[in-house]
């Protein structure tokens, strides 16, 4: 983690609340499927820990601030965009690769197909949108 931004910062909280609500929903869904509560909570604990660490350190760390969705300056904006693009590219490869592997093994693969369609489609929409807007 790094420090040193000159810009006054304000703590971003909405993303943490959304993450925690999603975690609670996830626990509810897993318990509804019949899994014990402790197991469900254990799965969400890591997510809660990460949210907590980022929320606490976001005012002191440029990295945590970027992870909280508030890049401290233009360089961090660029880092954020590159990291997002990298994650999306990994997602596309995972979805397309998962689809191919499941297809080869004769397994149900519609989830991978939907995910690949969504990711690739949103990329195309993004290209068209930003070409129009820039």
């Amino acid at each position: 983690m790094t420090t040193g931004s000159a810009r006054p910062r304000r703590r971003a909280t909405a993303w943490a609340v959304i993450g925690l609500v999603m975690g609670m929903l996830l626990i509810g869904l897993v318990v509804k499927q019949g899994a014990p509560l402790t197991r469900a909570a254990g799965g969400v604990a890591i997510m809660v820990l990460v949210i907590g660490v980022v929320w606490i350190f976001q005012l002191r760390s440029d990295t945590a601030s970027a992870l909280a969705g508030k890049p401290v300056d233009e360089r961090w904006n660029l880092i954020n965009e590159r990291a997002s693009a990298f994650a999306a590219m990994v997602g596309i490869f995972a979805a397309v690769g998962g689809f191919a592997v499941a297809e080869a093994q004769g397994l149900d693969n519609w989830q991978f197909a939907v995910m690949a369609l969504l990711l690739c489609g949103s990329y195309l929409v993004g290209v068209l949108w930003y070409r129009w807007r820039s």
Binding site: T3, R7, D73, R75
Partner: protein, 66 residues
Amino acid sequence: MQNDVRRLREDRGLSQGDLARHLGVSRQTINAIETTRYLPSLPLALAIGRFFEKPVEEVFHDDRER
């Protein structure tokens, strides 16, 4: 793309943190600019030029022009 940010900053006896505070960016961004790992946006390059009271092309210059 090379730049004279480090020399200009040191000539004025400023730390990277001081310059960062003046420009409203992080100290790491100043370091990345000085070591040419990051090319600043045009607004930030202009702000750096204004801060040092020099035209931006005197602060930043293409390798081929040197």
